[in-house]
């Protein structure tokens, strides 16, 4: 059994699986049940001036038979009074002293408002605070959530105000609804953030009902944009985590959020620099007990790899994540089709012929049997055929040894510039 304990900027947790601030962490009843199921921590649903929600709040995007590929919500922060939440937070922490209880906060961008709520929340014994600068709907119209999070100066200032009053670690939750998330992350760090968490939800409209012409979801015939999450957003979240992890100015731990649905997703986020993960949609889809499978899977993975502690995963892939200009132009892979297992469905041929580089030939052997063959000299190694192939293992992307040493685009540009410069000097002489 590997050691699954993590410590996010001074907040210890028995495992890296935390529930994200969202409907699953609305009450003490829910969070305590989650801890009983095995979750290592929870970020309490955002506290602030209690709001009033609409009816009809969630929508999902199902794709080709997969339920909840993406999830959209227009629910806002807590609709319960602060004192009610604080009482339940206190009781929860008392009952589960070794679990991480972090509380999400959102107030107007005023110094005294931040001081007030930080002091009140910390007084009940929380392990940390998460500043919600991410929610894209509803609260943003009132100048909070992502409306704050899209303004780096405002993030920095509010983080500073929270830190002035805080005794526990302050995590700043970032919005992905911005061009470059590292800018806001850096400002959070300048404001004194002890960690950043990302991503919050992405602006979205789940759909339009083509029969009623209503939005999905709609509230009495009217809709508004919501926040998108679930498996569909994982690649976006992973990329943003990676960007922050490799930025030396974002020099604080990262809590990864966004479409994490399995122990494998968790490993990916940790390899890419996250100290732990926060999960919501998977729990909403499958219930709290999904964490059992995640814990078992992570344990087995670490044991199989001979890794004693889960924290040894953190950031291992970050050095491998660079810029396009640093990729080797001479690295070459080509597709190889296994004629023994190929079912001749022709999908690779169609994909290559119609939308890629026209290098898969449909041929007939001496016995009149059709088969597919890649002209390797024309294959650019785009992977499309392997992606569309419906049978695992039929198409392998095989590395071919080239005759040239590695050369990146940046190497190339420097070499050409140098060559042209030498030539100019010669001509000048």
């Amino acid at each position: 059994m590997a050691d699954l304990r993590i410590n996010l900027t001074g907040i210890p947790s028995p495992n890296p699986f935390w529930l994200a601030s969202a409907p699953p962490t609305n009450t003490g009843y829910q969070v305590q049940r989650a801890f009983e199921a095995g979750w290592g921590g929870a970020v309490w649903k955002t506290l602030g001036d209690p709001i009033i929600n609409t009816s009809s709040r969630f929508a999902a995007v199902h794709f080709n038979g997969q339920r909840v590929a993406g999830f959209n919500n227009i629910e806002l922060i807590t609709d319960r009074p602060l004192e009610v939440n604080l009482k339940e937070i206190y009781e929860t922490k008392k009952r589960f002293p070794n679990h991480a209880v972090v509380v999400s906060l959102m107030v107007e961008p005023k110094r005294e408002k931040w001081h007030e709520i930080v002091k009140k929340v910390e007084a009940v014994g929380v392990d940390g605070l998460e500043l919600n600068f991410g929610c894209p709907h509803g609260m943003a119209e009132r100048g909070m959530g992502s409306a704050s999070g899209q303004q780096p100066d405002l993030v920095e200032m509010q983080t500073m105000w929270a830190k002035e009053a805080a005794q526990t670690p302050v995590i700043v939750k970032l919005t992905p609804n911005i061009t470059d998330i590292t800018v806001v992350a850096r400002h959070a760090v300048m404001g004194g953030a002890d960690a950043v968490s990302l991503i919050n939800t992405i602006n979205s409209l789940a759909g339009v009902d083509i029969h009623t012409w209503n939005t999905v979801p709609h509230v009495g015939g009217k809709g508004a944009h919501g926040g998108y999450c679930g498996p569909a957003v994982k690649p976006i979240a992973l990329s943003m985590v990676a960007e922050c992890a490799k930025d030396p100015k974002v020099s604080v731990p990262i809590s990864g959020i966004g479409g994490i649905s399995s122990w494998q997703d968790t490993v990916e986020f940790m390899l890419m620099g996250a100290t732990n993960v926060q999960i919501c949609t998977a729990a909403m889809h499958h219930g709290f007990r999904i964490v059992e499978e995640m814990i078992d899977g992570l344990n087995n993975y670490l044991d199989d790899k001979g890794i004693a502690k889960v924290t040894d995963l953190i950031g291992q892939t970050v050095p491998k994540y660079s810029t396009w200009g640093e990729l080797d132009l001479n690295y070459q892979v080509v597709a190889r089709i296994n004629a023994e297992t190929c079912i001749n469905c022709n999908k690779c041929h169609i994909a290559c012929e119609d939308t890629s580089h026209q290098c898969i030939d449909r041929l007939t052997d001496a016995n009149g049997k059709a088969y597919l063959k890649v002209r390797e000299e024309d294959c650019v190694g785009c992977n499309l055929c392997a992606i569309v192939c419906p049978v695992d293992g039929v198409i392998d992307m095989v590395e071919v040894q080239g005759t040239h040493a590695p050369m990146t685009w940046n190497d190339r540009q420097k070499a050409l510039a140098r060559k042209n410069s030498e030539s100019s000097e010669m001509e000048a002489v």
């Binding site: 000299e377 190339r412 050409l416 060559k419 030498e422 030539s423």
Partner: protein, 80 residues
Amino acid sequence: MSAYEEFAREKRAVDALLQDGFVIVGTSEELEGMELRFRKRLAGSTESPEPVYAKLLLLTADARKYVSNLIFSEQQKKQA
């Protein structure tokens, strides 16, 4: 024509000039492709003491990469 054959044709043109004693002295990249400028100095020749110039326009990505590799590796060797 296959992409490889297009590349091979351009590579042959580059190699032919190099084998003929030309050296690459400059490149420029435009919307039309990569223009390569070659020069051959006929040292010892009484008929043509002045350098001889040649140009090639490379269209394929692989040929442009091939030439880049030649220039890059030549510079790497000089540095070594």
